[in-house]
């Protein structure tokens, strides 16, 4: 799935923490991929 940035971040390309990952699997404890 494509990532859609909030309108305020389109110009900068920044990604906001708080939105969850739009793919199965996610990310484990503090960045340890699983």
């Amino acid at each position: 799935m494509d990532e859609v940035l909030p309108a305020a971040d389109v110009a900068t390309g920044r990604r906001v923490c708080g939105r969850k990952q739009a793919f199965a699997g996610g990310i484990g404890h503090f960045g340890v991929a699983r």
């Binding site: 799935m1 990604r15 923490c17 969850k20 739009a22 699997g25 990310i27 484990g28 960045g31 991929a33």
Partner: protein, 255 residues
Amino acid sequence: MNVLQMLAVCVLLGAGEGGQANATVDQMLTGPRWEVAPEISYYRYTEPGTMKIDGLLYGVAVSCTCYRPHGLFRVDGEFAVGNVDYEGSLTDGTPYTMDGDTDLLLNLRLLWGQSWPVEGWDNLFYAGVGYRGLNDYAGQDPAGYDRQSNYVYLPLGLKTYHELAGHWQIGVGGEFDLLLIGVQISGVDNGVVNIQWPGYGARASVELRHRAKSADLAIAPFVQYWWIEESNTSDGWYEPRNNTVQYRLSLIWRF
């Protein structure tokens, strides 16, 4: 037990909430006073326009207060845990919710205070340094990731107590918390660390206490608010402006 030993006991063993302003000679002679307070609280964290997390936390606060001629020293500690619900979206914008993520909350504070009585009211000013840590274990969800929030802050507070009839006492308190630094660790992209500043917090509490010779018992509703400005950007990620509200009810046993 000399002054240094008494202070060392407080610092090493103690921690909590509440506080007695009446630094009488009796208190100074009886040594440290302890408080143990089981508590329940409703917690809500909001990133406006992005997401919110809320739920009930269950915990306990412990404190130790040493009364000295030049003021009081106090160590506060609080630990709470509970299950919270997430309401927000995925990175593709799809609305998304998660239920039952575990949150852990830790508060540690080292305070110095000075009391002064005025016509039946015992007033207390206090200041110190505090640490608040919150772990949000959303990594159990396929789309979630864990977060750790760390605030180091400067608390400045006022409390006042008034004797009522029949060994009852009422206390009212307010506090301003100035954020010194916030460090947010998010489990995205192999771990992202964001620095948050400025920010502030505020507390208000009411305490209804029944005093007895051996131990006091009090019930204390409490509200805590935090407002934190948007963080710096790290590896392309940032933590948005956010706020937290916590409504708490404590049963304080003081001895």
